[in-house]
Symmetry: D2
Subunit: 361 residues, 4 copies
C-alpha cells in the first residue's frame, strides 16, 4: 500500500531516483477538465533542482510525458498516467558507498526491509525525487481547486536555521496575498529576513553542511463542514500525506504547540456574525479546523523540514557488509537546504488531499 | 470511511456521547490470543473520567461488554465487538444550548456537515468519549506487543500550561523506565514539576478555565525496517491515527521543530556498531524513524493537546437558528485539563498502528 | 478485511452463530434520513428462521437493537450500529461434533485457518446467521433506493431441485410486477410450479436430505452510466458481495452461461430511441450492464444456492483430533432448503452495493 | 477506485486502446525475486492479438518496458511499473462511428458516465486491450506461485458456441495435466472437439459474426485454510477480479449451477484420510472452497465469455448526437472469438488474487 494513496481520487507513484524514470497514475479525476499544462509546469519548475545556488546541481528538466487519461486536451475520466524520465544520473557516485549507509537517510533501514535488494542509488524509491510526480498530480488538483472552487493554497518560509520571517496577520490572508507568495522563488513576508535566510543557506553550503526550516501554509475559501470525524479528519488525512514527504519531521495546525501555553479561554475561537450574515471566528487559533471539519476560516499549518541529510562533511557510519565502524564522505551534488523546494510539494500534496475531500463522484 | 481504520487490523468505531452506548469492532486480530482483560481494564481505567479533581465529574464505569470474537478466553480470529454503555448522561444540559455552538468544539462544523441532524448532545460522535473504545482496541494490541514482541509504549507529560518536565536522556529510555511511567497516574520525570503542573490545572479550574499541554511518547524494541516508503511511512500512519484523537493539534517526531535550528551535521544520527554487533546511532534526533522505516532506536514523538474547549466562563458565540451574535455559558461537567487522560489514548492508538505494521497474516 | 465491506458506505459485520449476538455497523450513511423500521423489519422477517415447515425450527425473533447513528428517528450521519442477540441457541448439539467436520461446511477449513481457536458452534462467524445484520444494513439501503431513487429490487425462485419456474418477459419487469414478487413468501411467477417446488422441499426433508435452487433477481430504474471500468464494474462489485453470502456457488448476469451458445449478432442488444426520446435496447441479454456500467435496462442476474449442507443423513467424515475416518450424524435443526430465505439476503445485499455506487458524499 | 485493485499486492492499470500506451504499476511485490521475463513473455504471447486466423488482425508486439521496481534482474520491493506502447492503431476507423454506439460495447454507457469526454476510440480504457498489463502483473505472480508455492493454474476450453469438450476427471487434475494444457494454443481435453470448435469459430467469421464460450480453470496445491469469511472469501475476491475482465458474464465454482439439481447428500463432499494422513474429499463439487476458504482440493471454476460484440454485420443503433435510430457497420479488425485469448487473462488474474491471499508481508 505504500505508494498508493487516496479515496475518491487515488494516486499510485512509482520509480527510483536513478532508474529509468518516475511517474504517477491518477485514478478518479473527473472527466472533461481542461488541463492547464502551463500551470502544472510552473509548479514542476518550482520544485525542479538545478535552478539556483541554493539547491543541488543535478539538472533535471522534469519533462512530463502523459501516457493516458487526457484526450483532446481534456481529462477522459480514465486514469491519467504521467512519466518523467531520469536524465542527469550519476549513479557511480552511489556504487562506491553502497555498503556505507548515509546518516539521516533511508539507506540502512531500506536495506534491512528489502534484504539488500532495494535500488540503493540515491535513495531509490525513497528519494525526494519521487515528489516530482506528486507535484504533477497535486498541481492538476490545485488548478481545479482554483478554477472550480476558488480555493487557493500558498506558503511562506517561516524559519531557516533559526532565522524567522514576520508573523502573518489573520486579516492579511486573502487571495492577493497568497498569489503574491506563490509567485516568489523564495516566499517570505519580510524581504529582509528572506535575504538573511538565503545567506544562511549559502553559508551552510560553504561549510559543507546543510540547514532545515519551517514552512507555513495557508488555504483559503474551503467550504464549511468538509472533513470527517475520527479517522478521516482533515488533520488526519493532511498529516498522513504531509508526513509522506521526505524530511518532514513536525506538523502543527493553527497555533499548534503554542496551545500548551494557553488557557482554554485564549485558545477557543469565539464566533460572530459578519455583516454578510456569515459565521466567522475572531481568531483562528484552530487553523480553520474544528472536530476534524473545516470551519470556513483559513486552514493554516506549519511543517518542519529537517536539514538535508546529504552533506559533504565526513561522518561516522558503519560498513553493512563486514559490520565494522567506518567513515563516509558523500560526494555528488546536494541541496544545502531543501525547504524552498519543498514548498510546491507541500502545497500540491495539500491540494490533492483537499480535492479528494471535495470531489463528489 | 471516517470511523473505520486499518490495514491488516481494522477497527470500526461507533456511538455517540449521550446515546445508548459506544463501541468498537476489531477485524483481523489473530486467533488463539489469550486475552488479558485485567491489562485492558487498567488502560480503560487510566482514561476513565471521574477519578480525581483533575478531570470531569462525569462518572462512567466504562464496563466492557464483549459480544463476539472471544471464545473460552481466547480470540477466535473473527471480529471482536465490544460495547460500552453510556450510564451517567445529563443530556438536558445540551438541549438548552443546541443552537449555540461551543467555541473550540465541533458543534458548528458538524451541524453544517450533517445539516443539523447530528446528535449534538455532548459532541455526539465527535466527543472525546469515543476514545474509550479506541483504548479497548489499542490495549488489546498493546498487550500483544508486550507479550509477543517485547515492545513497550509509555509517555510522560512534557508540559502543562508552560510548565515543563525534565528532558529524558536517550540512555534512560528502557523497559524499567517505561514501566515506571506507565504505572503513574500523572507520569512525569520530575515529581516536583509534576506537582506544579497539577496545581496549575487546579488553578485553571478555579478560574473556570482550562489548560493544555504536551505529551512525549516512547516506544522501545521495534524491529528494524518496519514501515513503508511514501504514503505508509511510520510517521504517516502514526500521524493519521494520532490526529484522529480529539484536541491534538501538533505532532513532531524526534527533535521535530528543533530541526529548523540545526545543521545537517548536528541533525544526522551517526551510526556505530555495538559490542553485540548491532547497528545503533549515537543520537536519536530522528526519533527512531528514517525514510519512514524504523531504525531500531526508540520511536519518540511529542503531541500537543489543546486546552479543553469546554469552559465555564462566558464566551461569545452565535445563534445558529436566527443568525445573531449571542453568549454561551457552558454548564455541566468539564475536564480542566485533558492531557493526563489523553495519555492512554495516545499510547493505545500507537499500539494499534504498530501492531498493524507488524502483523503478518 | 474479511468482515468489512464498502466504499462510500462501509459495513462492518460481527458475531458468531452461538455467541452473545451478531450485528453490523454502517458507516457513511447520509444524515437526515427518516428510518422506516417497519420496512426493515419486513425484510428481517422474510429472512428469519422458524416461520414455516420449509425452514429450520430454530426460532429467532431477530429483534433489532440500534445503539447509535439514529437520533429522533433520523440518521445522524454517524455510524449506525445494530445488534441482534442470539436467543434460541442449542450449543450443546455442537460440542459433540466439534472434532467431526460437517461435509459441505466451513468446519474443517476454519479449524485449519484459525488453528482450532474458532468458535465452532453452528459455524461460528461463518454461519448463515450472519446474514441477518447484512439484511438490516441492506434493507435500510433498499428503503432509500425506493424512496429517493425509485429503484426497486425483487426476485423469483427460478428453480428448486430441477423444477423450474416460468421465464419472465422483459416487458413484464416493472414496478407492479416487482412489488408483487416482494410480497410473496415463496416468490414465483407460476403458482403451480411454486407448489411443486414446495412439495419437493418437504419431500427432501422427509428423506433427511436438502435441496438447492436458483434465484433470479431484477433491479429497475437504475440511472445510465453508473459503475466503473475494470475492477469496480457493477458486475465485479455485485459478484464480490453476492459470493459473500454463504452457499452461493454460481452467478450469471443477463443471459449468463447461455452466451456460450449464441452468435454475437444474437447476443448484442441493439439500440433504439423510445417515443420519449430515451435510448433503450430491444433485448436485455446483457442484463442491464455494458462495460461494467448500467445501460438503463433492468439489471438481471441469477444465483445458484447449493443444497443446505446440514442434513440429518449419516455422512462420512474424519476425526480432526486423532485423524481417522469417522461418520457424522448431524442432530439439531436444519433448513431443508435455504433458497427462499436467501432471497431477502440477495436483495438487500444488492441494495447495499447499488446505493454505495449511487451515493455522492 | 476503478482501476486500482488489491490488498497486500496492489495493481494500478492505466491506458486507452488507441492512446500512447497502456500499463500497470504493481505495489507490494516482495523484494529479491528473480524475474523470469521469458515466462512472462510466454503469457503475454498467449494473449497477444494477430497470431492466427482465430483472432483479430491487429498486430501488437506488446513489448514490455519496465520502468521501475526491478534492479539487476531482481525485484527491489518498490513499485514495478511496466508500459506497453500502442503500435498498430487505426484510430480513424473509430472517428466515423463516434456517435453510433456499438451494440454490446461500453460506447453508450461510457459516453453517459463521462459526459462524452471519454476516449471513444476502440473502447478507450474499457477495451479488452487493457488486459495486457493485467497479464503482465498476473504472470509475474503466477511465476512466483509456481516457484515458491508449487501452485499451478491452467484451463481448458469447455465450450465454444454449443460445442463441448470432454469433462475432466478429478483424478486427472495434476501438475502434468495442467502443464500440458498450458502449453496448448487452443487448450482442450479432446483434440477432436477442439478442431470442431476452431472450425465453428472460422465459420462464424465467414458469416461476419462471432461466438462465445466457456473456460474451465483449475488451480492445484493451494494450502488449506486460505481465504476469509464473508467479504473476502476466495469466491468473493476471485469473482470480483474475474468479472473485471471484459466479456465475462457468468462464473460458477465447482459444480456451480448444477447444485440446483442435486440433493445435499449428493452435493456435500465427504471427507476421508489419505494414506499419507492428509484430509481429502472423495468428490470436489465445491471446487476446493468451503466457507470461502480453501480446503486443499483443486480450485475449479467455469467462466462464460460472451461472443465478441464487434461484428461486421450491420446492426441497429442510435445516433447519440441527434437522437435518431440509425444503423452501424463496424469496420476494422475483430476477433471472431475471444475465448482462447481470454484464457491467459483468466489464469493470470487468478494468480494475482491467489498470491495476494498468500503473501505475508
Amino acid at each position: 500500500m505504500s505508494s498508493i494513496w487516496g479515496n475518491k481520487l487515488k494516486i499510485s507513484i512509482f520509480g527510483e531516483s536513478h532508474g529509468e524514470g518516475i511517474g504517477v497514475t491518477i485514478d478518479g479525476f473527473p472527466s472533461g477538465y481542461d488541463v492547464d499544462l502551463d500551470f502544472i509546469n510552473i509548479q514542476m519548475n518550482r520544485r525542479r533542482p538545478g535552478k539556483s545556488k541554493l539547491s543541488t546541481a543535478r539538472s533535471e528538466k522534469d519533462k512530463l510525458n502523459i501516457l493516458s487519461g487526457i484526450f483532446k486536451g481534456k481529462t477522459t475520466g480514465s486514469p491519467i498516467c504521467c512519466i518523467i524520465y531520469n536524465e542527469d544520473k550519476k549513479s557511480n557516485d552511489y556504487d562506491k558507498i553502497k555498503n556505507l549507509p548515509r546518516p539521516g537517510h533511508s539507506d540502512y533501514t531500506a536495506s534491512v526491509k528489502y534484504s539488500g535488494y532495494n535500488d540503493y542509488r540515491g535513495g531509490g524509491h525513497f528519494s525526494g525525487r519521487l515528489t516530482a510526480p506528486l507535484v504533477f498530480a497535486g498541481a492538476l488538483c490545485m488548478s481545479m481547486l482554483q478554477k472550480n472552487y476558488s480555493i487557493f493554497v500558498a506558503s511562506h518560509i517561516q524559519k531557516i536555521h533559526g532565522i524567522e520571517d514576520e508573523k502573518p496577520k489573520l486579516s492579511h490572508i486573502n487571495k492577493e496575498y497568497l498569489e503574491k507568495l506563490s509567485s516568489m522563488d523564495f516566499p517570505v513576508l519580510s524581504i529582509e529576513q528572506g535575504e538573511i535566510m538565503q545567506n544562511e543557506i549559502l553559508c551552510a553550503k560553504d561549510k559543507l553542511d546543510s540547514v532545515g526550516g519551517i514552512v507555513e501554509t495557508f488555504v483559503i475559501n474551503m467550504p464549511v463542514g468538509i472533513g470527517e470525524p475520527l479517522f478521516d479528519s482533515i488533520e488526519s488525512r493532511l498529516s498522513h500525506m504531509l508526513f509522506s514527504i521526505p524530511a518532514v519531521k513536525g506538523l502543527e495546525f493553527g497555533d499548534g504547540f503554542n496551545f500548551a501555553d494557553m488557557y482554554g479561554s485564549e485558545a477557543n475561537d469565539e464566533y460572530y456574525i459578519t455583516n454578510d450574515g456569515d459565521i466567522r471566528t475572531y481568531t483562528n487559533n484552530n487553523g480553520g479546523i474544528l472536530g476534524g471539519l473545516t470551519n470556513g476560516m483559513p486552514i493554516t499549518f506549519k511543517i518542519c523540514i529537517k536539514p538535508t541529510p546529504s552533506i559533504a562533511k565526513e561522518q561516522n557510519t558503519v560498513n553493512l557488509e563486514n559490520k565494522v565502524n567506518d567513515k563516509i564522505n558523500i560526494e555528488g551534488r546536494h541541496d544545502p537546504c531543501i525547504v524552498q523546494r519543498a514548498i510546491p510539494v507541500i502545497e500540491c500534496a495539500t491540494a490533492l488531499v483537499l480535492l479528494d475531500f471535495l470531489l463528489k463522484e
